[in-house]
Symmetry: C2
Subunit: 441 residues, 2 copies
């Protein structure tokens, strides 16, 4: 049987998982690739470190050159996180004639155009299934399986850490800080969880999906984001009372379904999702993505978005695809960071329509509700429902669910409300996913 | 831009959808294929029939030879249902050098080995994403995206018609016959719905998935099946009372997760699925499949399993894959009906373990319950819960939920119970999906 020689750069959690599958299940990969995937080299920065994987003699090295100067190695899994040295290594690998597989979404979101242009120029390919939603095959789903469709919208839960934290807050009535601590203890959150909880990770993944599905040329930094880091227990409780769960959703949606010229709405934010619908019922560290295509309707993907073996599953599938030659064929026609013109522009984010959840704490005083609803009305925001609970001391918590309004109007109205003398704390504002968008397909 | 000339054989619902996408969205397919997909010929049996699609002059023909004798046509979507003439046409197309795309699961389930052998011998390919679960990309999901895994189990809702009928019975408290009538009126069921409601359609699809995921060499006729055609309103009501929904599930599962030698359990049957879990919440004509891989864990796919445009979406994706060359690469390594030995055997179905729902109607008489539970105990079936409602005249309805038992024991015990003088009607027996299997991944 023919061999494809493979290397791994970076032996962290995911790299170790990939090595395990290649070494322990060589028969399996050979069966699916029609050729042996032979692990020739593993490049690490520290040879002395203990590793949870027995590598055959001669495989481990601390010299990237052992890979780049070896013409027998065809495919390299580049599994170092962050921007540098990952970016330089990736370029060096491409320049030395390797096809590359990566799980590094931060690198792709930041330097995708440079890396994809370089790969195209050199006739090489980059595979990146593992960069979004771990083991859930959303890149192949959109990039290959739904190509008969114009994607109309896509969205879902792309950050498992945030989803775990919010699930803990909801299921165990935990405060944000305690839920973060549980996530850290269970290995779902880093010591510094900032990139996960402030929405950065989700927005980087969303930018990759938006490039792939809409050929948008948007930088992740231009996508509006709100994280879960200021989420309060009481908002989760009010949401539940109203029949919703709070989820950190990443959404990309054409302003008008049939019209690429209408522009693309993109954002990441904590969002109320109706209980019992598929996205609402995604728990723990899972990811889920719903894609609506103009032919297929809604397709929903759900599974583990992170972790050693789920991510390794995606990396090894990419290694097999590349060894077989499928990746190279797909890479040529992908709309991702291509030199083609953008097919859709990011629409002014203040125009994005949504229903809103607003929570205010106001002084218990006649005329307050009239004044607040007056401000909403002035901004063309109509009210769907109001909950006013018993006063807390002198103040009354007020929860307002609005009908659809633009982000700009909601923002202006909220600012005006917050400037009132009666208003005691800054208004909490969250989007509410439309019922028709949460429908069981 | 280069052209790949394409033909369609059969202009029913799906064929018309495929023609619409090719004709109306040529820019889209060209973008994703890197070449124009040019609809050269459409073969129909009756030229005079009115069609919901304007074909360019010269495209429509009633002669298959216009396709087989045209060496410029590379790929053909063979969209005729049933066995003959579909089988003969498929062979003729392969023999004339065409790569074939099909949605015909009955043909593949019945004659897959013959057709796949022929294609392999001739160096041609068969793509069949649309044959299972319509627009949901489960064939690519298993055949390409999860190849780093040994699939441990897969299962779900593969027949949208049955799911629609059961959803109607549950949601609207409709009797079986009325639900079938609604399904027919809405176009979800054929005038003769037998193949859908007796489990044949689901078992054919399951056999394709079992070949693909486990390299099983099982005939669909050997897979035990029970349909929804004898489902009673009262069982749906009792299931709801117990916290379950009834779903027609198709299941393939290794007897021991890590052990191909342990054999494969396969069956299609109405099954109680715990409310709130993803499979339970699949409504209407949707399909859903949950796949558990040893690396990736549980991945869940959900979407429209039938209908013109969802199915056309899958067919056109296959046409693009074939035009690009991916299908040919995949086809070579697919484990489906290959000449390789079976990697797993179908296990004796009487050994399949399951929890069971049993509903009996017994004479209201002292000692009856003791006698029944005695019979269950004798067959090593332990009881998880019992509901005994008020007597209906002289008889008492009795619902027993068991712990896990083998199908053989359950069958023997049921027969013994039905032979008792106290037993008034044949015992209704349904499987219950284990809680751990229904877990939100």
């Amino acid at each position: 049987m023919e061999k494809t020689k493979v290397a791994i750069v970076g032996m962290g959690t995911v790299g170790t998982g990939v090595a395990k599958i290649l070494l322990d299940h060589g028969d399996r990969t050979a069966l699916h690739a029609g050729r042996v995937l032979w692990l020739e080299k593993v490049v690490v920065s520290n040879l002395a470190k203990n590793r949870d994987c027995d590598l055959p003699a001669g495989v481990l090295t601390d010299k990237l050159e052992d890979v780049t100067s070896n013409p027998d190695i065809d495919v390299v899994a580049q599994l170092i996180g962050g921007i540098e040295p990952a970016r330089t290594i990736m370029k060096t690998l491409l320049e030395s004639g390797k096809d590359v597989v990566t799980a590094n979404k931060a690198l792709l979101a930041e330097h995708g155009p440079e890396l994809f242009d370089l790969a195209r120029k050199l006739g090489r390919s980059i595979a990146f299934e593992a960069s979004v939603a771990g083991g859930v095959p959303i890149i192949t789903g959109i990039g290959q399986c739904l190509t008969a469709n114009q994607v109309v919208s896509l969205g879902g839960i792309l950050n498992g850490t945030s989803n775990f934290i919010v699930s803990e807050m909801e299921g165990k009535d935990a405060a944000y800080n305690d839920a973060v601590k549980s996530a850290q203890e269970l290995g779902y959150a880093e010591a510094d969880p900032t990139m996960d909880v402030d929405g950065t990770d989700a927005v980087q993944k969303l930018s990759i999906l938006a490039h792939l599905a809409f050929a948008a040329r948007v930088s992740w930094k231009d996508i509006p984001k709100v994280g879960i880091d200021c989420l309060k227990k009481e908002d989760i409780a009010y949401a539940r009372e109203l029949g919703y769960r709070v989820k950190l959703l990443a959404i990309a949606k054409l302003a008008e379904p049939e019209n690429l010229q209408s522009g693309l709405d993109l954002h990441v934010s904590p969002t109320l999702v109706r209980q019992g619908t598929p996205l609402a019922e995604v728990r723990g560290a899972n990811n889920a993505i719903s894609v609506v295509g103009d032919a297929v309707g809604r397709v929903f993907f759900h599974g583990l978005g992170a972790g050693q073996m789920p991510t390794a599953s995606a990396v090894v599938a990419d290694l097999i695809d590349t060894a077989v030659g499928r990746t190279q064929l797909t890479f040529k026609t992908l709309q991702l960071w291509s030199d083609r013109e953008a097919r859709v522009e990011l629409r002014d984010p203040t125009l994005t329509p949504s229903r809103y959840y607003l929570r205010l704490l106001v002084q218990d005083h006649p005329g307050v509700l009239a004044e607040i609803t007056g401000i909403l009305g002035k901004h063309n925001i109509s009210i769907a429902s109001v909950i006013q609970h018993e006063p807390e001391g002198e103040n009354v918590p007020l929860v307002i669910m609005t009908h659809e309004a633009s982000e700009g109007s909601a923002d202006a109205a909220t600012k005006e409300i917050d400037a009132l003398d009666w208003t005691k704390t800054e208004t909490v504002r969250m989007r509410v996913l439309e019922r028709r968008e949460t429908a069981r397909a």
